[in-house]
């Protein structure tokens, strides 16, 4: 596809938030926004669905619990039971600390892994920036270019009216979105 994108560049988070709201009100879809820090309320304004990452952590956490209990049970009860003063081999209370630690370990590593995977982040990936200052103090809105020339002008005007300090246009192939 040869669709282009229009970028509105802002220099303030509150202006950006108002801009998103008024652009949305016009029924224009905002494809993505880039901000140097988490802007409070932007995810709601853009209509981003609540992430399912916590389920990953819960699932792997449960797996960690199970792994720890089964491992300790297998090693100390089935494979090589040791008689320690006639105490039960399956000493659940003293298995709890390690079970807890492995639960936390599995949950933490899984959510970080899922976080990196869902954003497509990996060591050495080349970042494709729209504005060189978007990680410092510039805020970028990305809108798909419509087919009709008039609409393009409308969107540009809209961006300008909502406080954009610069407006850019670019081919999609040059910019990759996470």
């Amino acid at each position: 596809m040869n669709t282009k994108e229009i970028y509105g560049i802002y220099d303030d988070d509150l202006v950006l938030l108002d801009a998103v709201k008024s652009i949305k009100k016009k029924g224009i879809n905002i494809k993505e926004a880039y901000t140097p820090f988490p802007v409070h309320g932007l995810d709601n304004a853009l209509g981003i669905k609540y992430s399912r990452l916590p389920y990953v952590a819960f699932g792997f956490g449960a797996l960690g619990t199970l792994t720890a209990i089964l491992m300790q049970y297998y090693m100390l009860v089935i494979d090589w039971p040791v008689n320690i003063g006639g105490k039960p081999h399956f000493a659940l209370p003293s298995f709890i600390p390690i079970t807890f630690e492995l639960t936390v370990l599995f949950a933490s590593f899984s959510i970080v892994g899922a976080f990196l995977a869902s954003n497509g982040l990996y060591p050495g990936k080349k970042a494709k920036l729209i504005d060189p200052r978007q990680t410092s103090d510039r805020f970028v809105l990305v809108i798909d270019t419509p087919d009709i020339q008039d609409d393009i002008e409308n969107i540009k005007n809209l961006l300008k009216n909502t406080g954009a300090i610069a407006i850019k246009e670019q081919e999609t192939e040059e910019v990759e979105h996470a």
């Binding site: 988490p38 995810d43 853009l46 090693m75 003293s94 933490s108 970042a127 060189p132 410092s136």
Partner: protein, 478 residues
């Protein structure tokens, strides 16, 4: 979300977002100062002394330490518990204060979490050395082996410790690194040297700051904080089990887990204060790590110091109340026996010295806060020394009572580990942003004077912001 105008702004000096980036990244993009080099060379030299003593220990054996058959644990475990405890403040700031939505944590959490990681590295050195043959350290892992396989003993608190410390270290590390990714993206875009750019590009994982990525970032941070909170409490609880589950008078008490956790946070905040007072001075970050931050941390030191004081006195009372003659003897021996000086050094530094911070003029004078923070560090070291050595040196059998005297090797290792810690911390201040830049930017506006004034005006008309303002902005200067 706008704060009440009577609260002081979390970032002072009316900064713009670009200024925040420049201020925090200055140590990374500029050459180190002379002071930094002097501090680095001293730390590195001390580190080398430590590494030398460790090597000597490995060649000669544990016999080069002052341990004997009565006092089989002393400097090594004291230092281990001391350093693990230091780490706890970092996780408290990064995880527990995140769950409590304490905005002031944002500008100190990065450095505090780095401190945690370095402290746990330092801690791990001691049990490693005490193994005598650290190359067999993998024996603590439940791996199939040639003994048929005889597994590790999951009923042993020392093994729980292995799991607790390694989980704590690795989870702290990924929590810290996840928080670093956006800031590394900023460093990548700021540095001009091509080699630096390449390194930071690799480290930043290609972060661009899309709204979806930030949304996931915040959820991941929250979940990790939720996981790290019980984790950090479990770690020192399990460390205290090393003592509490053995039948040694002075150790075999149920008060140990909460007492150790409170002590850990207390000592950790002592170390955070020591480091932050120097860091904000040297790196010129007083607008970010403000006097308000120091005040908040001093209050935590008072609170946890008082908890520790309560634990000491409770222990003493219970030793008498329990009716156990061995327990009673151990505590009287602690306070009045041959190690009385260690006990009273501990008590003075930990219980009495933080109490003078109740006075606002003391709390806001950085010289006093710095001195008290050093006292806290010393006191908490002595606490572990007192618990370990005084409980062991006079046990059930008077014929085997002995004194413990550390050797030069032990002193060298102990001091050398401080060198390792400060060397790592000094490198951190030059190579990574010491303040969580993105997180600070996200709170600086809502806590600034301008935002509060603006919100006050617009609240009548817009009604969109959730403003909770009771006083006029003129009141804010009190």
């Amino acid at each position: 979300m706008v704060e009440s105008p009577i609260r002081e702004p979390l970032v002072t000096g009316k900064k713009t977002y670009a200024q925040v980036s420049d201020d925090v990244l200055k140590p990374i993009v500029s050459a180190p100062s002379k002071e930094w080099w002097i501090a680095f060379l001293i730390s590195a030299t001390v580190m080398m002394i430590g590494l030398g003593c460790m090597t000597y220990t490995l060649f000669v054996g544990i016999g080069t330490w002052g341990l004997n058959k009565t006092v089989g644990w002393a400097f090594d475990i004291t230092n281990f518990v001391f350093w693990v405890g230091i780490g706890h403040a970092g996780t408290l700031i990064s995880a527990i204060l995140l769950l409590f939505r304490q905005g002031w944590r944002q500008s100190i959490n990065r450095a505090a979490e780095a401190m945690t990681i370095f402290a746990v590295i330092c801690a791990a050195i001691f049990p490693g050395l005490h193994m005598g043959r650290p190359w067999l350290a993998f024996w603590v892992l439940p791996l199939p082996n040639t003994h048929g396989s005889l597994w590790v003993n999951f009923n042993s608190p020392l093994l729980w410790d292995v799991f607790a410390i390694s989980t704590y270290f690795s989870v702290s590390l990924i929590f810290w690194y996840t928080g670093l990714i956006p800031d590394l993206g900023l460093v990548r875009d700021k540095v001009t040297n091509p080699i630096q750019k390449k390194i930071y590009n690799t480290l930043s994982f290609g972060w661009t700051g899309s709204a979806r990525a930030w949304h996931r970032f915040e959820i991941t941070s929250l979940v990790l904080a939720g996981l790290a909170t019980p984790l950090v409490l479990s770690v020192h609880t399990i460390v205290s089990f090393d003592f509490a589950t053995s039948v040694i008078p002075g150790w075999h008490t149920t008060i140990f887990p909460p007492y150790f956790v409170a002590g850990a946070i207390f000592s950790g905040f002592g170390m955070v204060l020591t480091l932050m007072i120097i860091t904000r001075e040297v790196l010129n970050l007083k607008d970010y790590i403000t006097d308000g931050h120091m005040d908040a941390m001093s209050k935590i030191v008072i609170a946890t110091g008082s908890m520790v004081g309560l634990a000491y006195t409770t222990e003493f009372f219970i030793a008498w109340y329990s009716g156990s003659i061995y327990e009673r003897f151990t505590f009287i021996n602690r306070a009045m026996g041959p190690y009385w000086w260690a006990y009273w050094a501990m008590f003075t530094c930990n219980v009495f010295s933080p109490q003078i911070m109740w006075f606002k003029p003391i709390r806001s004078n950085m010289k006093w806060v710095f001195i008290i923070s050093l006292f806290v560090n010393v006191g908490m070291w002595f606490e572990r020394y007192v618990i370990i050595v005084t409980s062991l040196h006079r046990d059930y059998l008077p014929s085997s009572w002995q004194m413990y005297y550390p050797t030069w090797t032990e002193w060298g290792i102990m001091i050398g580990v401080f060198g390792i810690f400060f060397t790592l911390f000094l490198l951190f201040t030059r190579l990574l942003p010491v303040i969580a830049i993105a997180e600070v930017k996200s709170i600086m506006k809502v806590t600034s004077d301008e935002a509060k004034e603006k919100a006050l005006k617009s609240s009548q008309t817009a009604g969109e912001l959730n403003v909770n303002v009771a006083h006029s902005p003129d009141n804010q200067k009190f």
